[in-house]
Subunit: 242 residues, 2 copies
C-alpha cells in the first residue's frame, strides 16, 4: 500500500526544494537500482511492479500497480521500479589526477551525459559551480544511467577551487590550440562552460591552456557541438594517448 | 492572420503520416530558418512573433501573437518563428568517401545529434534503414540545429546498399579492434545500430571490420555509451588522424 500523501511527496521530488526538505531523491529502473547497494547511497524504500529480482531486503519493497507507478515516475515510459534514496553530502577531494569542472551547465540531460562520460573514462570527480543543475534532479539521474553512483559530484565556488589548484586548468575556446596537437599533462582540470554563454570570464582568466576542437566540415557547417558531445570528443582524444 | 484550420494542420505535423499527406515539415527558430534560403529546401510560409530580420520575401511571413506560436510550436520553450517547408526527396549518392549507415536508430534526439556530428565532421551522406526515425520529425530537426540542411539523408534497404559497396564497412562491436589502434581507410561506411539491440545480424554479417571503444573506467563503470556519443568519439578519433 502506498498512501496518497506519500504519492504527493514522491511527486514533489522533481524540485530541489522538496528533495532537500525530505532529504530524498528518486532512482528509476531495476537495472540501476540493483547497483545502489554496492554504492555509498542508501535506499529507503522501493515501489515496484516487478520486485522479484531486486537484491535488497524485502521489507524495503512495496509492490504497486502500474497505474500507481505511472503517478510516481518522472519518465514518459515508466520502468519497473522507483527507489527512494537518501541524499548524500559529498566532499571535495583535493589533488585528484583528472577532474571535470562544470561552470553553469543547465540542461539535466547534458549533466547526466557528462557524469556517464566521466564514469566511462574513469574520472572520479566532477566539481560543479553552484548554479550548475542539481545532479539529484530525476532527469540527471536518469541520463547518468547509474554513473552518479561512482563519480564524486560536488558543488563549490569554482574560483576558490581553481585558485588553489596546482595543476593545469584546461578549457575549450574558439581560439585555442588544436585539440589533436595538444599534449595533455598527467594532472589537469578540464573546464566546461554553460550551454549558451560558455564559461564565465572570471573562470576563463584562470585557464592555463585553451584548446579548440577543429571543425572538419565546410565553413557553412554547424558552428558548434553540444557541450556533452564536446566533452566526449575531448575525453576520447585525451585517453587515446594513454 | 492564421486560421484555426491551418493551426490544426501545423499541429498534425509531428506525425509522419500528416507530414507526407501535406508534404510539409516545420523548422523552428530564426537562427536555423535563416539558413534555409541557402539550402535545397523551400520555405512555404513563416509564422513569427519577430519577423524583422528574416531574409525572405515579406509575402511569406505572417506575424502572430506568442499565444499562437505556443500552439503551433513543438518546443517546450517556443522560439521566435516557425517555418513551414516542403518535404524534399533525397537520392542515394554512390561511392561517397565516408558515410554513416544507421540501422534502426529510434530516438529523434540521437538522430538529430548524429546529423549535427556528420555536418561538423564534413560527412555528406547518412543512409538510414527504413525503420530509422524520420528526420523530418520536429524533434530531429530541432536536435540537428540546421545541420539537416547540409547532409544528404536517405532511407534505403541497407542490405542492398551495403552489398553493392566497394569500400570498407566498419561497425562497433563489444569484441572488435581497439578504436585507438585501428587504421581507418580513406573510404568507408560507419554502421551504427539501434539503441537497445545494436545492428541487425543481417547487417553485422556484412561488416568488413569491427571496432571497440575501450572503457577506461573500472570494471564497475557504465557498460556503454549512448549511440550518438559513441559516434562522436569514433568520428573524433578518425578525423584526429587526418
Amino acid at each position: 500500500m502506498i498512501t496518497a500523501h506519500k504519492i504527493k511527496i514522491l511527486q514533489s521530488l522533481d524540485k530541489k526544494k522538496f528533495r532537500q526538505k525530505y532529504n530524498l531523491f528518486l532512482v528509476e529502473g531495476n537495472k540501476t537500482i540493483k547497483e545502489i547497494p554496492n554504492s555509498r547511497y542508501k535506499i529507503k524504500e522501493i515501489y515496484s511492479v516487478s520486485p522479484e529480482d531486486l537484491p535488497v531486503a524485502k521489507s524495503l519493497i512495496t509492490q504497486i500497480e502500474p497505474t500507481i507507478l505511472k503517478k510516481i515516475s518522472f519518465l514518459q515510459h515508466p520502468k519497473d521500479s522507483v527507489a527512494v534514496c537518501e541524499l548524500k553530502e559529498n566532499f571535495l577531494v583535493e589533488n585528484v589526477e583528472v577532474q571535470l569542472i562544470l561552470d553553469g551547465i543547465q540542461d539535466p540531460g547534458n549533466l547526466g551525459t557528462i557524469i556517464r562520460l566521466a564514469d566511462w573514462f574513469g574520472i572520479r570527480q566532477i566539481v560543479c559551480s553552484e548554479d550548475t543543475a542539481d545532479y539529484y534532479n530525476p532527469k540527471v539521474i536518469q541520463a547518468s544511467m547509474g554513473s552518479f553512483l561512482r563519480v564524486n559530484i560536488v558543488y563549490e565556488n569554482l574560483e576558490k577551487v581553481l585558485a588553489n589548484s596546482h595543476s593545469a586548468i584546461i578549457g575549450t575556446d574558439m581560439v585555442g590550440q588544436n585539440l589533436y596537437d595538444f599534449k595533455f599533462p598527467e594532472k589537469f582540470s578540464l573546464v566546461l562552460g554553460n550551454e549558451g554563454n560558455g564559461m564565465r570570464s572570471e573562470i576563463k582568466k584562470l585557464l592555463t591552456d585553451k584548446v579548440t576542437i577543429p571543425r572538419f566540415g565546410s565553413s557553412k557547417a554547424t558552428e558548434s557541438l553540444n557541450v556533452a558531445m564536446s566533452t566526449g570528443i575531448i575525453l576520447g582524444q585525451i585517453f587515446s594517448e594513454k
